[in-house]
């Protein structure tokens, strides 16, 4: 196992001021979420119902996928199926190649990040312009989003100003967020106007009507789609819900959990393409069926990508999204990513304190912290844990399994801290001493104290 998360986090926290800003900002969003949740007396019932609707849908997924396909096809939508990331990317490229169009605008879709679509299309001569403001910022900087709802949360306005000055010729050192947003607005409106193909993600796909629902605040998904001749929507198989009436439950939970808004500005329901235009929906697996087959991890497919678990996580807030080195960071990403590649992501389930706050805020009641713990066990069983951890665990089992060894090492430890505190507090020799001072040691162990004092009673 690599220690990528820990090493990346060490770099992130090197800038203390920025780390504190990141921590406070995300915690502020968490408190906005709490206020929004408290505004509805039925909040807990909504979570329970949302969780059960998702459980029901996953239990009958084969039926709902076929129903969705049939209804969408009836609506004039072209349905495509992709078993993995590469198949998904090839379908997008084929649609573009059939029309000889070389440019595409794209609104937020974490699935396309997961599939590395941008890199694939660029390698095939297609220009992709991300139109969500945060995603455009990270795209211009050649980075990936660090948060699924707030892609550029790791950046300060000075960084954005610098990036826009370099790429969009904005005024140097003008750090006003309104000014910078307007610069992006003008720049992206040109792209909306020029682009004939628009790709969006899917928040919910309704089986009984064949419609898809896309939730945004900026209006970029709709501007892209309605101007273009071809709309491509990419969705994971888990996005389905049975009926439109179920949308009410999810739309009431989604934005409140994500940013504390009562609802996103736009909840767009796409059912049929406009006359003379095309609408394609790509239904993607990419190992979701493997997650579905595992009782321990199946419920992670209920996720509606609100990122409430990111905002509340003490580790995410203090390590930043890029430390997770995957398209989806945070607690939910740490239980989804090992399913895609256990070896490469073996460090992620360990990037948690298992405090359970993620589980408490999850609008669809995924037991995230339990699944993190279960992944740890799987990773150790498969032998993907770090060598340093393996050695330490083996050593500990010898020490804790033998009273003589236990007493001896205890004594040795107390002696070390007492007579060589500088060695014990040296973070290079003792990782436990990183950002911690070792405690004052007692003269005797509890056992020694007990043997001595028992007789006094």
């Amino acid at each position: 196992m690599s220690l990528a998360h820990a090493n990346n986090a060490a770099k992130f926290i090197a800038n203390e001021e920025r780390t504190n800003w990141h921590d406070d900002t995300l915690w502020f969003i968490r408190s906005k979420r709490d206020n929004a949740a408290a505004s509805l007396p039925e909040w807990e019932q909504l979570r329970e119902i949302a969780s059960t609707i998702k459980a029901h849908t996953l239990d009958h997924l084969e039926t709902y996928l076929i129903e969705f396909e049939a209804n969408a096809t009836k609506n004039g939508v072209q349905i495509h199926w992709a078993n993995d990331a590469l198949e998904h990317n090839a379908i997008v490229l084929n649609i573009l190649n059939a029309t000889n169009i070389k440019q595409m605008v794209k609104s937020k879709s974490m699935l396309t990040e997961e599939c590395h679509l941008n890199q694939y299309l660029q390698a095939n001569g297609i220009q992709v312009v991300d139109t969500d403001l945060g995603e455009r910022i990270v795209q211009l900087r050649n980075e990936i989003p660090s948060h699924i709802v707030l892609p550029a949360i790791h950046l300060k306005k000075q960084d954005v100003s610098e990036t826009f000055h370099q790429h969009l010729q904005s005024q140097k050192d003008n750090n006003d967020p309104t000014y910078l947003t307007r610069v992006a607005r003008e720049h992206l409106r040109e792209h909306f106007f020029a682009s004939k193909v628009a790709l969006t993600g899917v928040n919910f796909a309704v089986a009984s009507t064949g419609s898809i629902v896309v939730c945004t605040n900026e209006g970029n998904a709709d501007l892209g789609v309605h101007t273009a001749d071809i709309h491509i929507a990419s969705m994971g198989i888990e996005k389905l819900i049975p009926k439109p009436e179920h949308l009410s439950t999810f739309l009431r939970l989604l934005a409140r959990s994500a940013t504390g808004q009562p609802i996103t500005t736009y909840s767009s329901h796409f059912t049929k393409p406009q006359a003379g235009k095309q609408m394609h929906v790509i239904i993607v697996n990419n190992k979701r069926t493997e997650q579905l087959a595992q009782d321990d991890f199946r419920s992670s497919l209920k996720c509606i990508r609100c990122a409430a678990c990111f905002n509340t996580c003490p580790v995410y807030r203090r390590s930043g999204g890029h430390s997770y080195h995957t398209a989806i960071a945070g607690p939910i990403g740490s239980i989804l990513s090992p399913n895609i590649d256990m070896k490469a992501n073996a460090d992620l389930p360990f990037a948690s304190t298992l405090c359970g706050s993620c589980t408490n805020v999850c609008p669809v009641k995924i037991d995230i912290h339990n699944q993190l713990w279960k992944w740890r066990q799987r990773i150790v069983q498969e032998g993907y844990d770090a060598t340093s951890k393996k050695v330490a665990m083996k050593g500990m089992s010898v020490v804790l399994g033998n009273p003589k060894w236990y007493r001896l090492t205890g004594k040795l430890g107390r002696w070390m801290i007492k007579y060589f505190p500088s060695l014990a507090n040296n973070p290079y020799l003792n990782v436990w001493a990183k950002q911690r001072n070792m405690p004052k040691v007692p003269d005797a162990s509890f056992r020694e104290w007990y043997i001595k004092n028992r007789k006094k009673v």
């Binding site: 039925e42 019932q45 009958h60 967020p177 605040n217 101007t227 736009y266 767009s268 796409f270």
Partner: protein, 191 residues
Amino acid sequence: MSAREQILEAVTRANANRNRTALPAFSYTAIQYTDLVAQFTEVLERIGAAVTVVDSLLVVKQWLQALPIGKTSVYIQPNLMYSFDTAYLYQVDVAAMHGTIAVAENGAIWLPESNMGNRMLPFSTQQLVLIIAQQDIVHNMQEAYQYIDTSAQGYGVFIAGPSKTADIEQSLVIGAHGPIAMQVFIIKQVL
């Protein structure tokens, strides 16, 4: 085996021999408000829209006529076909249209395709004006979905306020890619 067959087969296999969860009942009362107009107005103002209660549609049309000279404005008659070209749609300053259901809980207004003239117009216009009848304000989203048929038309959208973003240092900026401003007119109930 096609990707479709592979996926459906894998899902079926994963779901075999499983106790299947039933669909839940909506076993609770969704939030109700004593003053629908006040609640709806409060939420919309909080999310950056202006709200005015008026006596009739005539007042809205007068408001449109009184816009400064040089502003391009358009009023969309419900259920009427319009043909606009894309360049024009990007030049509109003010577009007024009728919503069919408004939600007090979150300030959202349902706008079906037949009431927007063109799918792009509610997004390309600089200022969006939505007109709603007072009796069409409902308490919550659950109620709203009972009144709308989401798939009767090709497209429909709930809109709550002007477009916005907080992607730069979490500073709220009203006016991202869609409208920079939004005006809602509530036409008073005629008793």
